[in-house]
């Protein structure tokens, strides 16, 4: 770490992110245990089937509530803008680690923005459908057809969410420096310039002021 590193995430943002991440792992594993028989053994991690059933919804609600924090923090920075369409058009180059012809982008690249909005939608669907199929407290309030639809939507949204997070985690492994950014909060100037040039320009402009 150097003295001239740029702060990308403050301590609150990082803590919020990792709290959601931990709850995602717990809610995800307990949910996958019920998702397919091949993964039922995961219920052992939570103390067996009944405990998995008891804990999963609480973990899910906690994840949603904390995700609201991330949503509020990062909402504005995730509006699509300027070069985003062009960047997505050159996604092939991005995936080959080529930089020529890839337009500069702001604090988040369109892939990250897409992830953000997918998370917003899936988290909402998971919360609402999850409440409907929460047998112990809420299912008696709803009709059977709505419960069936919710069970289907819950599984579908969870699938999309897990898939998106797999991509998100891999991107953090692939793009060196981004994991550190979420751990220490700081990135090198070169990293910022290389991956988020418009954001870098903005930051340096403010520094000069």
């Amino acid at each position: 770490m150097r003295k001239d590193d740029i702060q990308r995430y403050n301590a609150n943002e990082r803590s919020n992110h990792w709290a959601v991440a931990i709850l995602f792992i717990l809610a995800g594993l307990s949910g996958l245990a019920l998702f397919h028989p091949a993964l039922f053994w995961l219920s052992n991690l939570f103390g067996g089937g009944p405990w998995t059933r008891i804990l999963h919804p609480f973990l899910g609600v906690a994840m949603f509530v904390l995700f609201l924090g991330l949503m509020v923090r990062f909402w504005r920075s995730n509006y699509f803008s300027g070069n985003d369409r062009k960047w997505l058009g050159s996604l092939n180059k991005v995936l080959r680690n080529e930089e020529e012809g890839v337009p500069p982008i702001g604090k988040y690249n369109p892939g990250q923005k897409l992830l953000f909005w997918v998370l917003v939608v899936t988290m909402l669907v998971l919360l609402v459908s999850g409440v409907v199929i929460w047998r112990a407290y809420f299912s008696h309030l709803f009709g059977i057809e709505l419960i069936r639809l919710s069970a289907l939507l819950h599984a579908a949204a969870a699938f999309v969410l897990v898939l998106s997070i797999i991509v998100h985690v891999y991107a953090a492994i692939w793009i060196k420096g981004s994991f550190g950014a979420m751990m220490s909060g700081r990135v090198s100037r070169l990293w910022a310039k290389k991956h988020h040039e418009l954001w870098y320009d903005e930051v340096t402009k403010q520094e000069r002021k």
Partner: protein, 309 residues
């Protein structure tokens, strides 16, 4: 005792132990013979040692008002005015239908919590039940109930314990009018035919057997005087089937989704192998003057070697 007659087991993707071959059984409930005495309800609670809480009347003969985790069978009374303007008192003994294609078993996520025996009985193993209520979601007949006491799902077992030692279910044993009979499914169908013929000869043209094909047939069947309108009988489903939403939820989508998740992880791994990580290049990193890690210092201890000039 080893179980060798399980033809379907919840949340199990391999073939369960199913070598033993037995005839399919069925309980036939002749609605036209039922007098609504509720002896079957009492026999059920006696045999199974169930004592439901005493509830409140809600203005009909239905008592208790609904199936519960401790009331596995229930007479449902319907007052029906037929086209001639006569009142018909339709009494249907409700309870698990023991479907050949059970929606509860399809929906259940816990391995072995619901099993289907070769004789057609669908039974819940409460010690493996996790209490999620997916069986309720899957059932086309609204039968399973989650107990308030232990959060496990319960329903009629078709007296599996009695049937497995050659006895008929308790409700059959006790029925004073012979409205409930029990035997091999073929025999019961044959018996139903005779009853239907009799009913037709007495003016019930639409009399027929309720053995709905939408769930592959059932191991509890009804003789109905109005088989063309099952829903007359306290909303018995006209064409019961596992809901398409349940089939989609628990069908081929699940293994495909699992495969997709696995493929995504592998895609990432091989992307890393083939394309490699995206680093801020070394030279770029070294543009900034780096401080040396180890500083050269004059050693504190000086040695003297006399052989050295």
């Amino acid at each position: 005792m080893a179980t060798q007659n399980i033809i379907a087991r919840s949340a199990t993707t391999t073939t369960p132990p199913s070598i033993r071959q037995v005839d399919e059984v069925a309980k036939l409930i002749d609605v036209s013979k039922c007098i609504g005495c509720k002896a079957c309800q009492v026999a059920c609670s006696e045999w199974n040692e169930l004592r439901d809480e005493v509830g409140h009347t809600h203005g009909t003969y239905d008592n208790p008002a609904d199936l519960t985790a401790e009331s596995w069978t229930l007479m449902r009374f319907t007052e029906h005015e037929n086209t001639a303007g006569d009142l018909e008192w339709l009494i249907r003994k409700d309870g698990c239908m023991h479907c050949a294609e059970p929606g509860c078993l399809t929906a259940c996520p816990s391995p072995g919590a619901i099993v289907q025996y070769a004789n057609g009985i669908v039974d819940f193993n409460q010690d493996k039940c996790i209490g999620c209520g997916y069986c309720v979601t899957g059932c086309p007949f609204d039968i399973p109930r989650i107990s308030e006491k232990d959060k496990k799902a319960y329903k009629c077992t078709l007296c599996n314990d009695r049937v497995s030692v050659g006895l008929e279910p308790a409700c059959v044993k006790t029925c004073p009018t012979g409205a409930i009979v029990f035997g091999s499914k073929d025999d019961m169908k044959h018996h139903a035919e005779e009853r239907i013929e009799d009913l037709k000869s007495r003016g019930f043209e639409n009399a027929g057997l309720y053995d709905p094909a939408g769930v592959g047939g059932t191991h509890v069947m009804y003789v109905l005087h109005h088989a063309d309108k099952p829903s007359l009988y306290a909303d018995l489903p006209n064409e019961p089937a596992i809901s398409p939403m349940v089939s989609l939820w628990k069908g081929v989508t699940k293994p495909l989704a699992l495969l997709a998740m696995g493929a995504a992880v592998l895609a990432g791994f091989f992307h890393y192998v083939r394309v490699g990580p995206q680093r801020v290049e070394e030279e770029e990193e070294h543009e900034a003057p780096a401080e040396p890690v180890v500083k050269k210092q004059d050693p504190a201890v000086h040695t003297f070697d006399p052989r050295q000039p």
